[in-house]
Each structure stands twice: as structure tokens, then as C-alpha cells.
Symmetry: C2
Subunit: 431 residues, 2 copies
């Protein structure tokens, strides 16, 4: 059968992984497909020295060369939302199917891009956009297609998971674990996208959209990062039977979507609590298959590139069988994609872990519990450390309470002179 020609935009971390897989695994790819995938053109603003020679014969001098008649599938790995977006629209107009790992772009403009692709009868593969080498997009779009998906709970940021794991295992503070993650390549020089929860929010927007048949945009995902979590909190969580994880959570509640990313206390027995280091884990609860969990490396050159190439192969098969759009791009056909209301986090109820920094003086607990009690927030347990300092941590675990009442209480408590620092609030997963 005729070869399929690939045009690659971007030869960074993931792009160079794609180049490697297409070269090193060309034989097994051809065996499985019955034809070759040929990397025909690469356009990248900068190309690493170690691959420069290898690809010099196929280096393009402009991105337009990737959109010529000799290219069947375009792979977009430049990231970002400006050039990448324009490029994808142009590629779609030229009837190119696209494979991308661009979560930020899809979380913002996914619906528009997919609609345009549908009009032009081309496919968009985006397995690599969520959780790298873990085939969660295909699982949701195809393997769970007979199910109503009810919720997803997920560790989708390996940087945060690595940092939180290191803090517990090595008993080191946040900054030290972050530095270690940067040294090992698990965190960027500027880690704010990861530790602020932005990256996880992008992924949860995409997962929510295809799980429920919705158009969830990144900015409607409630998000909190892990920066406020200290070693002390991780130790307390451990003693209380929990691990603190940055969880992405999305629930369909009475046809509204509750989607959020925040540090969460997860019971140690939960498989998500057991997923450590740079690993990602995604737990999908659906009405028939019950819960299924997908674990693997959520980032890294080769795992992510593995997802890119499997998408290329999928689309190549569609080209050869003339079966484009065999699976709806957003898991549901567009006429069924809704735009549901979002649940306001203030309307949710759960258990809370609150770490106050208080003055080491009598009556503090009574003042704090008084404010909580006025809002019917019932306290499950209290741990008060007396370290002989002026300011000491006071841990309060609550029973189920409304987020709004908790936030109102904290606002009042924060105005009291017994409080030193911002209180850390960690929501408890009460599954």
C-alpha cells in the first residue's frame, strides 16, 4: 500500500521523540500498518544539534511546506495558542488531518478547531494532549463508549505528583523537592504552569468535554496549585491516613459540571494515592464498566511521542480506508455537544483540612471553633502543636461542610489578631 507522508511542526522535546520513534520503530509500524509512515518535512524554529544532521535533508524553510500536496498528516508540536492556532486552521482548510499535543490550545479553542475539522472532513488526534503515554482519550472515546461517564478523578500533572511524593518520602520542604524535580527534568525552569494547576486545568477541560459531551473551556475550571502545601501538611495527612495529591476532578451533577483542580487529601487505600512520583493516573467512573484506572508516564519525550505516533497510525488507517471521522472528534457528534452550566465550588460540600497559623495563647481554639460552629461546621478532630514559638500550627479537620461556609468562616477568622499567616485549606476526597 502507498506510504503516508508526515509533516512535523516543532522538533522540541516531544517532536524529537516522534522523529526517533518513526525512525527506530519504522519496521514494527510498517508491520502493523501494512505501509510506511514517512517523515517528509520538518519545520522548527530551532533544531537540536544532536538531530540536526539526521534531518537536514527534510528540513523545511517555512511552515507552508508542511501544507503541500505531498503531506497527508500534519503533526503540530509547537505548543502555545497563537501561531499554533493559525497553523491548524490553515492546515484544516488544506484538508490535512492533524495530530497535536497542544492541551492549552484545545482547552481554549478545541470546539472551534474540531468544528472546522468536521466541516473539512479531516481528523484531529490529541491523545498526547492529556497524560502523555496513557491512552485515556481513546479509552473515553472508544472503550467506554457504551457507558454514561459519571466522574473522573485524576493525577494529570507529573511535576506536582513528583514534588508531593518527594516531600513525603524524603521529608523535604516544597522548595527542595521542586529543585530536585527541576534537576531531574520533571519540572520546567519556570514551573508556575505546573505547580499553579494551570496545566492540569487544561487537561481536565479536555477530559470533561469528551467524557460528558460538552464544551468546557479552560477558564471555567476552578484551580488551586500546590504552592501552599508544606511538609507539615503532608506529615499530618500521612498520620491521618491520607496522601495529598493535586487532583483534577470532574463530575456530572444534575446536568451541571463540577470541574476543578486543587490539592486534595486522598485516602491511602485509593489507587490515586498509591500513584507516586512522576506518574499520572486517571480514574474514570462510568455506569456500566464501573471504575477503570489508567496509569503511566504523563510526560516525557518518548511516552508522549508514543501517543502522537499511535494517533498518526490511527489517522493513517482512516486515510487508507477512507473512514475519516469514524469516531466523532469530541466523542459525541457536534449536535449533541452541550454547553452545560458549571457548578460553583461554593455550593459543594465536603470534608476539609484547615491548617491555621495561630498565636500560641489560650483561647485560640475556642475563637476559631466558635466561628466555625456559628456556621454549623462541625469539627472532626483538632491537632494543636505546641512548639514553644509565638506562632504555631493548628490543624482542624471538619465533617462535611459547605465550601461557602468554610470560606466565610476563614474570612472572619483571618481578621482576628490570633492569626499569623494565610490558612491552608485542603479538600478531602470523601469517596
Amino acid at each position: 500500500m502507498k506510504d503516508i507522508n508526515i509533516g512535523l511542526l516543532g522538533a522540541g522535546t516531544v517532536g524529537s521523540g516522534v522523529i526517533k520513534i518513526l525512525k527506530d520503530n519504522a519496521e514494527i509500524i510498517k508491520k502493523r500498518l501494512g505501509f510506511n509512515l514517512v517523515l517528509k518535512k520538518i519545520y522548527s524554529r530551532s533544531i537540536r544539534n544532536e538531530i540536526k544532521n539526521d534531518i537536514s535533508s527534510i528540513t523545511a524553510s517555512s511552515y507552508e511546506e508542511l501544507l503541500g500536496d505531498d503531506i497527508d498528516i500534519v503533526v503540530e508540536l509547537v505548543g502555545g495558542c497563537d501561531f499554533a492556532k493559525d497553523f491548524m486552521f490553515e492546515a484544516i482548510e488544506k484538508k490535512k488531518s492533524i495530530v497535536t499535543a497542544n492541551k492549552a490550545l484545545l482547552a481554549k479553542y478545541g470546539f472551534e478547531i474540531f468544528s472546522k475539522a468536521f466541516e473539512n472532513k479531516v481528523d484531529i488526534g490529541y491523545e498526547a494532549a492529556v497524560a502523555g503515554g496513557i491512552p485515556i482519550i481513546k479509552a473515553i472515546k472508544e472503550s467506554l463508549s457504551a457507558n454514561n461517564i459519571k466522574s473522573i478523578k485524576a493525577i494529570v500533572n507529573g511535576t506536582c505528583n513528583y514534588i508531593l511524593t518527594e516531600m513525603l518520602e524524603k521529608q523535604v520542604p516544597f522548595e527542595e523537592a521542586l529543585k530536585d524535580a527541576q534537576d531531574k527534568g520533571f519540572a520546567e525552569a519556570d514551573p508556575s504552569f505546573d505547580i499553579g494547576g494551570v496545566d492540569a486545568a487544561h487537561k481536565m477541560a479536555i477530559l470533561s468535554s469528551i467524557a460528558f459531551g460538552d464544551n468546557v473551556k479552560d477558564d471555567s475550571v476552578y484551580r488551586e496549585g500546590i504552592k501552599g502545601v508544606t511538609l507539615l501538611d503532608i506529615k499530618f495527612a500521612d498520620e491521618l491516613g491520607y496522601k495529598i495529591k493535586l487532583l483534577g476532578i470532574t463530575n456530572l451533577l444534575d446536568d451541571k459540571i463540577d470541574v476543578r483542580v486543587h490539592p486534595t487529601m486522598v485516602k491511602k487505600e485509593d489507587i490515586l494515592a498509591k500513584t507516586d512520583g512522576e506518574y499520572n493516573a486517571i480514574k474514570v467512573l462510568s455506569d456500566m464498566a464501573d471504575d477503570t484506572v489508567y496509569i503511566g508516564k504523563g510526560a516525557g519525550s518518548l511516552p508522549t511521542a508514543s501517543a502522537v505516533v499511535s494517533d498518526i497510525m490511527d489517522i493513517a488507517r482512516n486515510i487508507r480506508h477512507n473512514s475519516h471521522l469514524r469516531i466523532p472528534l469530541m466523542s459525541f457528534p457536534f449536535n449533541y455537544v452541550k454547553k452545560r452550566k458549571m457548578v460553583n465550588i461554593n455550593d459543594l460540600s465536603m470534608d476539609y483540612y484547615l491548617r491555621f497559623s495561630v498565636a500560641d495563647s489560650a483561647g485560640v481554639l475556642s475563637k476559631i471553633s466558635g466561628v466555625l460552629g456559628e456556621r454549623n461546621i462541625s469539627i472532626k478532630s483538632v491537632i494543636q502543636l505546641n512548639k514553644g514559638k509565638d506562632w504555631v500550627p493548628l490543624i482542624v479537620m471538619t465533617h462535611k461542610a459547605k465550601e461557602r461556609d468554610i470560606q466565610d468562616s476563614l474570612n472572619i477568622i483571618h481578621k482576628m489578631d490570633i492569626i499569623k499567616d494565610k490558612t491552608l485549606l485542603v479538600r478531602v476526597d470523601d469517596e
Copy 2:
């Protein structure tokens, strides 16, 4: 678009789950597909009273009715190898695509059935044959298609996993945990297929075949069941930092296949050790995606039926897009399916846990360690219990040793009069 008509053979546990999903989730299935899946005919030797009325209008009086022109896809859920095999061959000749959960049949006659299907240009869906609701077949055939798969380690029998978990958590003996599993519906009245490792061997044969592009038959899978594992062993494993799991293991070693099912000591930190109760877990190590793990309910009416219906939807899409055989039936086209040699377990080397039942007398350890020492088997640790009985357990953990040397040693040791009972050997996963 035109409806797709289904003929169902077998309305037992999984079959009634399929009936329920096609009815209860008809709306979401139609949304995703753009057309209906219509359950047109059911043939089953016995039909449960609770669904008899529901399906009376579509009950067929002979299996031949499932093979008429009005049926597009046939679902085989009777199990067994005799009638099911004849039925599938007949269905394929009549150009019906088939969905099946029949692992025993595929582990024995998979290659023949898939070849016949290929000749007749029909699809065979068998996601439900391995690990129920976990989409491991699709993951291997599609999501990891850019990878060379190196090995799979898996818990693929929920009955055994439930029993082993109960023994540890409730500190009960094997028989009590088995009875509990039977009461809860996690074990059959005759559990020998599960606890003997036969069921797991079927699944490992199928997984090995599609992972490596081979034709691995069930009888070439080395197998040991969990019957010899006592609470004592589970306690010792726990103390030593391990859990005992019935693992299915398949490795590609120098173009030979090492595939086996046996109780295995797995380090507690391993995600497989953390998968408890009736859950299954499959860890795939591949060259590019690294390790990915898939966890979920490996059995049960609805999880398994969820896999059946997702296969039906996949094939229905192939029918509507005229894209039959879009993915090779065995993951590789037949001309690449090899018949490799099997690794003899005697040629493998690993660490061993040996529990001897010995006379409570002086010199016992020296006799045993003498025999082991003659074969250069080096001992890592020894635990000797002195319970004041005539016969006491003696635990020996070895360093890496050759299986053949271990077996030879045991043969000699078993002839000594210091030995009471058969020695339990548990292989240690040294990953």
C-alpha cells in the same frame, strides 16, 4: 443512518448484561454512533426468569436464526470450545462479524478463527475475553501500536486476587477466603478453573499473541494455581515487604516467549501489589511508552458487557464506513504472526521463597542448606519458627537461582525424612 442488528447467543451473566446495556444506554449509544444498535434475536438454552418477559418477542428457537440476513453482528457468549467454535465458523462463513468473551476458545483456536475471519473479511471483537471492563486489547492493538512491547505482568483473575487479598486483610485461611468469595459471587461453585490458574493462562495466551505477534496456545503457558499458598506464607511475605499475587507474566526474551502464571511475591511498592480485591491490573512495558498500567473490574456482568458493547460499536462503525479489518485481528497481519519457541521455566533465574515443613530437630537447616549450597544456590535469609510442634515451617529466601537447580534441590530434599509436606515455592518478582 441505518440501524445495525445484533444477534445474541447466550443470555447468562454477561449476556444479560449486554441486554441491559443495549436497553438502558440505547440513547447514549445512538448519540455516539449516529444510529441504533438493535438487539434483533437472542438464542440461549436457558433464559433467566427476570428477563424472560422482556425478551420474549426476540427469542429465537434455534441458533440458526442468529445467522440470517437480518443480522449484522453476532455476539457469542455461550463459552466453551465445542458448540461455540462450530457456531463461530458458521457465522464467519455467513459473513457475520462476531463479538465474543470466550477466552478459552481464543486461547486454543484463536489463530484459526482469526484466519477464517480474515479470509471472509469480517471482524472479531474480543475485548471482553481478557480482564472484563479493562480495555487492554484495544490498548495493545491500537494505543501502543508504535511500540515494541517487551513484557506484560498482570493480575487477570479476580477470584484469586480477591481470595489472596481477603487472606491478608482478614487473616483467614485459604478455605475461608474462598468460601467468602463464593458467597459474594467472586468465585464459581467449582472454582478450579480460577484458582488453578487455567483462566489466567487463557488470558495470558491471548495477550502474548497480540503483544508480540505470535500464536501462543493455552497449553504452552506454564501454570501453577494458588491452592498451596497458606495464610502463613502471606504473613511472611508481608513481613518481608511483599504481597503474594497470582501473576500472569509474559516476556519476549531473545525472540523466545516466556509466558507463565504462578503465585508471585511482588514488592509492596509495585502497583500490581497495590491492586487488591476483585480488581485486575495489567502492566505493559513497551519500548517507547515505558510502562502503562490498566486497572478495573476484570469480571462481572456489566463491566464485561461494557467491553462487549464497545466492541459491537467499533464493528458497527466499520460496517458503516466499510472499513472492516481496519485493525489487524491479531494486532499484526497474519504474514507477520510468528510461532516462536517457548522459554522453558527451568532455564529462568530468579529469587525464590521456599517454605519447607520440617521436623523440629537439630541439623535440619544444615541438611537443607547443604543441598542448596551444592547447586550454588545462595541463601538470602532464613526464618525458622519454633512452635513446639513436631513439624514446623522453615522459610528460605534465596538469591537469584536457576529454576532447574531449585527443582533438583527440592527433589532431593523431599526424599529426606526431615520433610513432612510438599514444599511451597513462590517465585519472587525481582523487578
